[in-house]
Assembly symmetry: C2
């Protein structure tokens, strides 16, 4: 049995944002070899005394300046040759950013930082395409049984934003009436007194997600769940 193990532990994050009716991912351009100049997920090595979550948040802040609104562990990738230099296992995270926090402030760690619509992705370094695919699947599954979609919208939003968000993420049309009926039946949206004026067309009421109400209901056995053929 080999006594001394030399494996590096990294974290990488797939961070989604929703802007201009598109789902986007936050990427950084690598400044060093290997894959110098290629786009990659933000991430880096975990420090010896920090938690994994802390490492992700730190790297994101260092590399992109973006603060994250929702974060959960995604999957751990550990194939021996995934990094050509050393054995590196990467604990990946899945993050969501609301429109308030889109703003990027790049610095030394990364030559460039950019949001990419998921239908215009560049080639990615390492196995990052696979990681991204895994994250996308997670998102597509999870919005159906957890109210995480709201993290991608402004605090107050017209109902149609929610509708479009779901259609975009799931990549399918959803019947407007049925969708609204379902969401409304949960009782987790609060109608504000504000209204939103679209560039043209009828003004819309603004709603907000009532997290407190959601938690209450959850305790009583309520389960957020939507499904559409």
């Amino acid at each position: 049995m080999k006594i001394s193990q030399n494996i590096k532990v990294a974290v990488d994050a797939v961070v989604f944002g929703y802007q201009q009716k598109e789902l986007s991912v936050l990427l950084i351009k690598r400044g060093i070899e290997p894959f110098k100049g290629a786009w990659a997920l933000p991430g880096g090595l975990v420090l010896e005394n920090e938690s994994l979550e802390h490492a992700v948040e730190r790297e994101l802040l260092e590399e992109t300046g973006v603060t994250i609104d929702y974060l959960e562990q995604l999957y751990t990738f550990g194939t021996p040759k995934r990094d050509p230099r050393n054995r590196v296992i990467s604990v990946t995270y899945f993050g969501l950013v609301s429109p308030n926090h889109f703003k990027i402030s790049a610095n030394t760690d990364a030559a460039e930082v950019q949001w990419f619509p998921i239908h215009e992705l560049p080639k990615l370094a390492f196995d990052h395409t696979r990681i991204l695919t895994t994250a996308l699947q997670r998102l597509q599954n999870k919005i159906n049984y957890q109210p995480i979609g709201f993290e991608l919208l402004k605090k107050e939003f017209p109902f149609s934003d929610l509708e479009n968000l779901y259609q975009t993420i799931l990549n399918q049309k959803i019947d407007r009436r049925n969708f609204r009926k379902k969401i409304m039946s949960f009782g987790i949206l609060t109608e504000t007194d504000k209204i939103h004026q679209p560039s043209s067309g009828r003004p819309a009421k603004l709603f907000k997600f009532n997290a407190k109400k959601y938690k209450e209901l959850e305790k009583k056995g309520f389960h957020f769940e939507i499904k559409f053929a």
Copy 2:
């Protein structure tokens, strides 16, 4: 930024079995400090050139002699102080073993190996109780939307075994007629010509899970899913 990182990478497995109408977990008694003499999940350090999955299977075989019928990654635990000696992050796995493979063959690595019904668990080493809880939740969720329950039964089983399995895992009564109707409607069980004689009572037909059929249906958009209030 700290250049040299010294973090160990381990794997641990929560392996479930179903025997005598009880859900059990495979544990080993630790032979060395820390937590010498305490029960723990099987696992150990990953070798430098092996995949994570390989590490789990190797450790399981070395420590328990049990071969696993279903394995998937569970979660990665990496809190800095979870191991009092060094920083160790543990990539945990979730495994199922069919009755054919229950037999334990202990060896040098572990002083003792044992199946514990989940309602008679001893105190566990490290953060293993938490890992186990996470695994149990995964199992409880997953049997509802993936046909993994069959991995816990013999290849051919009376329908009532399946019924009891679900009731045991979910810890609730399920209406027998509705359950059977639902499962049968999927068309993923094949009736064999054999019958099972219970110690007393009416003999039962034996069924087997038709994995090929399941995959076919899955491709056509079928989704295994059961729910019972």
